[in-house]
Amino acid sequence: MTRADRPSSAEPPPGAPQPERRGRREPAADRPALHADVTITRGTHRVEAAFDAVPGHPLAVIGPNGAGKSTLLAAIAGLVPIDSGSVRIGDRDVDRLPPERRRIGVLFQDYVLFPHLTVRDNVAFAARMRGSRHAARAAAEPWLERYGLVPLADRLPAELSGGQAQRVALARALAAEPEVLLLDEPMSALDVELRHEMRAELARHVREFGGATVVVTHSRADAAALADRVLVLEDGRVTQRGTLAELGAAPATAYVRRMLATPDDDER
C-alpha cells in the first residue's frame, strides 16, 4: 500500500516501452465528462436516469437494493442495451458502440478477475488485446508497482485476499486507460473490518485517476468517501440529487432520510 503512495510520475523500469500517458495524470480539465440520459427496460423493471459526471468530481449513485443502480451502470458500460437516450463521453457518442470500444473502465462488484491468469496477466489484459504478450507484460509493470502488486504478480486470483483482489481489479481497469471509470458496489465484497481502510485507499486511487467517475453504492459511507455529489435512484427513478449535506438538509424521500440516519455496517 505504501508503494501506491509513490509519486504518480513513477518511471517504468528501464527497457520497458514508454507507455503513453501511463503513470501520469493530466489535469482534470483535459479529461472528458460523461453525459448519460438513458431509459433501460429489464424484464418488468424500468430505469430512467439523466446525469453528468465531471472529471475530478466523482458522482455516487445511491439507492436501495433493486433500484436499478447496477443496471444503469451496465447500460453505460454497454453491457446491457438501452431502450432510448444517449451516452456521451466528451463529444463522443458511445451508446451505439460495443463495450470494448467505449473506453469505459468497470470495477465489478466482486471484481471478476480472470481466474486462469496471474495478477500480472490480469493487469496486462487490456494491453494484451492490443499487442504481444511480452509488450503487454512490460506495460503492466508500472501499474503493478503503482498499486503495490509486485510481490503478488505471479499469484492467481484464488490466492488473493479481498483487498488485494480489489487492488488488482482496479489496476486492471485503469491500465486500459479508460476515459470514464464506473465502480459497482466496490466495498460489498470486502469484510466489514477491511472496508474503512480500503475505502480510503480506493478514494485516493479514484482521485489519482482524475477522469469522470461514477460509483454505485447503497452505503452512505462509500458516497461520502468516494464521491462529492450524489444521485439518489429509487425504483428506477431519480428522486434527489446534490451533495450529501444538501440531501441531509432537505431529504426528498423517506428512503433518503433513513439512509442518512442509519450507520453503515462498518461504522457501528
Binding site: 453491457l79 470494448e100 473502465g105 491468469l117 489484459f125 487490456a126
Partner: protein, 282 residues
Amino acid sequence: MTTRPASPSAPRRGLGRSHGGLAWPVAVLAVIALAVLVLPLVALVVRAPWGELGDLLTRRSVLEALVLSLGTAIVATGVCLVLGVPLAALLARAAAWPSPARRLLRAAVTVPLVLPPVVGGIALLLLLGRRGLLGGLLEDLFGITVPFTTGAVVIAQVFVALPFLVFAVEGALRSTDRRTELAAATLGASRWQVFRHVTLPLVAPGVAAGAVLCFTRALGEFGATITFAGSLPGVTRTLPIASYLAMQTDPDEAIALALLLLAVSVGVLLLLRDRWLPGVRG
C-alpha cells in the same frame, strides 16, 4: 432405532459399518457388477499369447491397422475439436432460446449419441453414398466418392464421437462465469478475443476431457465404420475391424489386436488423467 449413539460425535460401530454400511444384497450386486467389468479384461490379459506377442504385433496387417486407427482417430478428434467447440458454444448460448428451438438443437446432438452405430453407418451411406442425398452430387460435380475410403472412416468416427465432445465442452461452458467475458469486453477485447483469451482457457479442462472421450470413442468405432467405410486392408480396416475379422481365422492375432486397443485406451487415460481428468484419478 431404539438405541442411539451416546453422543453425535461418538464413532458408530456395529455390523452395519463392517462393509461400508451397505445392505448385503446391495453389496453382493455391486461385487457382481465389478466382476462384469473386470473379469473379461482379466481373461484377455491371462489368455493372451504373450510368447508370440512380438511376432504378432509386428505383422504387416497389425501395423497397418494400428497406423490407420491412430491416424484416423487423431484426425477425427481434431475435426471434432474444430467443429464441436463452436457447437458447444451455440448450445450453451441456446439456453436462453425459446424452448422448441432449444430442444430441437439438443436432440440433434443427442440422437447420434444414443443411436446404434450401425444405424449411423447406414444413414451416412444414404447421405454420402453414390445414390445418396449428397453423394450423387459430390460425384457428378467433383468426381468425389466418399464411401469405402479412409475419409469415410474419419467421417464415421466424427459422427459417433462428436456428441461426446460437445456435451463435455457445453457442461464446462455453462459452469463458467459469464461476467468474466463482460469484464474482458470492458477491457477492450473483441468477441473473438474474449473467446480466445477468456472463454476457451476457462473451459480448457472440459475441452481436454471431451477430446479424450472423443478419441477413445473414435478409436473403438466399429459399426458405423464397417457399414459406411467397409474393411479394405490398409484403407479402412481399423484395429477393431481387423480384430473382429482375425477372430474367425487367427484368434491369436485377434487377441493381440485387442490387447493393443486396450493398451492404447488405458495409455491415453493415464497420460491425461492427472492433468485434465481429476474425475478419474483414484
